[in-house]
């Protein structure tokens, strides 16, 4: 038997020497493993001609497994806050160590010769990639500069418009201060709480343009009715009890009955005469009457029934079980029958004696 050899593709140990690599199972496993790696290599190859530069994201730290070298390889190339997509993988595929490892891997595992070229990148291709990477980096930097300039221009514009608004507000000081109850729509930030008449209101350059606010300004404006703040009394914002949940002083005792009164209940329900009579008595009398009724019912039942003489008021232990009809007897059925017959005969004799006497 040949010495044991572990095949990394099949992840098993074999004892048939070099013959294992020619088996169908090994070839199938090899094909599957290569097909798993191939899409990533193809994606990297596409990036050869046109390198893509992106802003760094933690997702760019991902690695992929190189089957030929048996090691993990960083997929993308990151530096600072920039990432060159597929840069890491391309660098590895173009390295001479990877080429050696691929040749050895193909020799050992007897892979298809045509497939090998797909997993190698020539140094010339890698040089082309490096040139395109430099170009992409430059264009990315230009784009970033443009974006920053645009943002700066926007901020400058906003600041300018704010200052204009403040200036235009401060200028017309001839308008008197507002009285209570006059209309006062304004901005939320409260930069302008001075009230002017509708026609003299300043234009809000920050907010949506004037035509869209016309319906508020020319329609029914808000009426201020005074601040509703009374110290000591809470409101909805302070979490006070709602007025409809506050208990009235008259009914706070808890004796308040809810639902219909007894007379209303009788009117609504369809009760019999006896039930209506019962209903008119007091509670202890009702209980006594019920007990009497139960006793009358019991008298009508047969006196020989099981449990007729059982004292229901006696205390029984937790393990008490009823015993009647010889249920706990051990032995044959004829023994129980014999016992029953002797007892029945004795009972009959007793009854006869009683009748005679």
């Amino acid at each position: 038997m040949a010495p044991p050899e572990r095949c990394s593709v099949c992840r098993q140990t074999f004892f048939c020497g070099r013959g294992h690599v020619y088996s169908r199972k090994h070839q199938r496993q090899l094909k599957v493993a290569l097909e798993r790696l191939l899409p990533q290599v193809e994606a990297a190859r596409k990036a050869l001609r046109a390198a893509q530069v992106e802003r760094y994201v933690p997702d760019h730290e991902r690695c992929c497994w190189c089957l030929c070298c048996g090691c993990e390889v960083r997929k993308h190339l990151s530096h600072g806050n920039l990432t060159v997509l597929h840069g890491g993988l391309l660098e590895h595929l173009a390295s001479p160590e990877h080429k050696k490892a691929t040749n050895r891997f193909w020799w050992e595992n007897k892979g298809e010769f045509q497939m090998k070229e797909k997993f190698l990148i020539s140094p010339q291709d890698y040089a082309r990639f490096k040139k395109s990477m430099v170009k992409s980096l430059d264009s990315y930097e230009e784009k970033e500069d443009e974006v920053i300039k645009e943002m700066a221009a926007q901020i400058r514009e906003v600041e300018h418009s704010r200052q204009e608004m403040v200036r235009s507000v401060l200028e017309p000081q001839t308008v008197p201060d507002p009285e209570e109850g006059s209309s006062a729509p304004g901005s939320w930030k409260g930069t302008n709480s001075q009230v002017a008449s509708t026609s003299q209101q300043p234009s809000y350059v920050d907010l949506p343009p004037a035509p869209e606010l016309d319906w508020m300004e020319t329609g029914q404006p808000l009426t201020f009715i005074g601040h509703q703040d009374t110290p000591g009394i809470g409101n909805i914002h302070s979490g006070a009890t709602p007025p409809w949940m506050v208990q009235d002083e008259d009914c706070s005792s808890g004796n308040q009955q809810i639902g219909p009164s007894y007379e209303e209940f009788l009117k609504e329900s369809k009760l019999t005469n006896s039930e209506m009579v019962m209903g008119s008595l007091s509670l202890p009398t009702q209980i006594k009457l019920l007990i009497v009724e139960e006793k009358q019912k019991l008298k009508k039942l047969p006196p020989d029934r099981v449990g007729a003489n059982f004292d229901h008021n006696s205390s029984t232990s937790a393990g008490w079980l009823p015993s009647f009809g010889r249920v706990w007897n051990n032995g044959r059925r004829w023994q129980s029958r014999h016992q029953f017959k002797t007892e029945a005969a004795a009972r009959n004799k007793q009854q006869l004696h009683k009748k005679k006497s």
């Binding site: 304004g186 939320w188 409260g190 508020m216 808000l222 201020f224 007025p243 409809w244």
Partner: protein, 95 residues
């Protein structure tokens, strides 16, 4: 079906104070006796301050409140366009 009540603030000082109604018109929404809050994008979620621009806005708001309340929500998001919601000062004693 929603029932709409028009309430005079002078006749209900307790509720006016509880709901902190400083500007009129203000609309407060209830469902089964439960006060419903709505996020209009304004600072106050307990009531709608001001008038509605269109009837459809009002109808949509009622529908959203109803749907949220039926699902057990106590606060819902307003479907009205923010530019149609009246803006007002929420200053306290001119601070």
């Amino acid at each position: 079906m929603a029932t709409i009540y028009l309430v005079d603030v002078d006749q209900t000082p307790v509720y006016t104070h509880y709901f902190d109604i400083s500007y009129i018109p203000s609309t407060v929404f209830f469902f089964n006796g439960q006060h419903m809050k709505v996020d209009y994008g304004s600072p106050d979620h307990t009531k709608f301050v001001g008038s509605f621009k269109t009837k459809q806005d009002f109808i949509d708001l009622i529908e959203v409140i109803y749907r949220g309340a039926m699902r057990g929500k106590l606060i819902v998001q307003s479907p009205i366009d923010p530019k149609n919601i009246p803006k007002y000062d929420l200053l306290y004693q001119d601070i």
